[in-house]
Symmetry: C2
Subunit: 176 residues, 2 copies
């Protein structure tokens, strides 16, 4: 099962691709879609859509997860973030990839075992869980954490006792 995690942002959208095989997680790819802030906002939304479209075409995930957002500093930033999220979700839906949504709290809980975990802790756990020998960028790490959250939910569904994520020791090449 190949899973795509997406961390939405109007400036930088992170993505992470993880394989789940025999209950083990394997890093596939991660990166970011950066938009050109000199462009019009519609043109930037198109960049985001195309970026996610490219990722899906390249890695052919069977499932996807995106961070659910309930909170924004103010209506203006909520509108911007919402539009980026709308572009991302339509890109995923246009490929008929089933999409799950997880709150930041759920992601932190799944990856770090604690819903209020610090960003650095989540990043550390992502690296440990996937046996990465380099630190992904913050947005890419967040996207991998979202993918791991969905992966963990799938594992929990398949096993009666829901196991916590455990770091694996194998190393992996990071294509950031």
């Amino acid at each position: 099962m190949r899973i795509l995690g997406i961390d939405p942002g109007s400036r930088i959208t992170g993505y992470g691709v993880v394989d789940v095989r025999d209950g083990e997680f394997k890093f596939v790819a991660c990166g970011v879609v950066k938009t050109d802030t000199k462009q019009s906002f519609p043109a930037r939304l198109k960049e985001i859509y195309d970026g996610i479209d490219d990722v899906i075409q390249a890695y052919k995930p069977q499932m996807a997860a995106v961070e659910d957002i309930f909170f924004a500093r103010n209506p203006k930033s909520a509108l911007k973030l919402g539009q980026a999220r709308g572009a991302i979700i339509t890109a995923v839906m246009n490929h008929n990839v089933p999409l799950s949504e997880y709150t930041a709290k759920q992601v932190k809980q799944a990856v770090a075992g604690y819903g209020q975990a610090a960003k650095a802790q989540v990043q550390h756990m992502v690296r440990a869980l996937l046996g990465l020998n380099a630190q992904p960028s913050e947005d890419a790490a967040d996207a991998l954490a979202i993918a791991l959250c969905l992966a963990n939910h799938l594992k929990s569904r398949n096993h009666s006792a829901a196991p916590n994520l455990r770091p694996i020791m194998s190393s992996s090449i990071l294509d950031v």
Copy 2:
């Protein structure tokens, strides 16, 4: 020149298609894309995307305009509206249709000659300007007003003296 106007909404998105020929406006079509509130929000965004995609394929507009939003009641509704807008904008951009954005104030100014015009006044003017013999639904009328705003800006650009919109007397069949 065929113009598509879009009034974004997560529940109901209005669309209106207007032709501009020899400085005259001609009604082509208007309607709404309604989303099934029983569906997941990603599925509803896909409905909006597909609805606008269908409208563009059916009417082949050469330009499009969407209402620009700066204000929302709260971050939560801004996020919802933003996502709908993101789905709409990517649908338009994926057809390479040039997209303009106008604030509600600009639309009211162009159609009713007054930036603070009441909704009923805008609807009345849309009907008069396009010679419609029936009242479009509120969301469809708003979308037609957005299309007329872009049409008026094009006219203003082509003529040194920017004319106000004037009602036309020809009648037109309304396919709402």
